[in-house]
Amino acid sequence: MRDSKRLRSKTFLFAVVAVLSNVLGNFALSQGMRHFGSVLSVSVLSFLSVLANIWVVSGILLLVIWMLSQLSLLSWADLSYVLPITSASYVLAAILGAVALGEYVSPVHWIGIAMIFLGVMVVSRTTPRTVPVRATERSE
């Protein structure tokens, strides 16, 4: 299986991109929304001003990258592999919250985060793909 090493590193790279873009995208969106108290007002103008916010724009862009990298991962790897692996975003989000935002993370939460991390480690030791998949993209 000469292919499996290539598959592993490609999967690892895309999982890192998916996790980073997910966490940073949500972070940027929540930063952007914090500037606007109640966003659910009826005014079109206030809605547009939310969209013009640099945090919101970069958050949406990052979430588009997340969606595309997640779909790409699913094009060659198992759902039962991708799903637990990308839950590493909970771990990163908690660390980011604690370190960058100074949020309090309770001991129970740290135990939960450790369990998620352990789950990611266990699943990452399985082979990413157990179903047959087309090797190349269908041409137009």
């Binding site: 779909l71 789950g119 190349t136 993209e137």
Partner: protein, 121 residues
């Protein structure tokens, strides 16, 4: 009402992921990540009915989560997503025919328990 939304979130999230996975497997491995490759990918995805259904289901799940967060707090909403890890692993086995080894089950269970623990303070 709360539990109705929880059920809707889990169901749509699960259905969306299974449809997206099936659609992407049908599309084939994505290899070209240049600008033209991504454009071609987007065009192919917009025509794939599984992907359209999958993204629609994910969107319903997302808005149901927003609705749930407006009537309940995060610590109630989080365990809902925990259940979907095990449900999706089961569906990956029976519908997508993936080989779920004990390591996959163990990992998915650890993640599900870990996410459920985030509900407690």
């Amino acid at each position: 009402m709360k539990w109705l939304l929880v059920g809707l979130i889990v169901a749509c999230n699960t259905v969306g992921d299974v449809l997206n996975t099936h659609g992407m497997k049908q599309h084939g491995e994505v290899c070209d990540f240049g600008p033209s490759g991504i454009r071609r990918l987007l065009r192919a995805l917009a025509r794939n009915r599984y992907i359209i259904g999958g993204i629609a289901a994910s969107a319903v799940s997302f808005f149901a989560l927003l609705a749930l967060l407006s009537i309940a707090n995060l610590s109630f909403a989080v365990p809902a997503t925990a259940a979907s890890y095990l449900l999706e692993t089961a569906l990956a086995k029976f519908i997508l025919k993936e080989q779920i080894t004990w390591k996959r089950w163990a990992g998915a269970s650890l993640v599900a328990c870990g996410v459920a623990l985030l509900a407690f303070h």
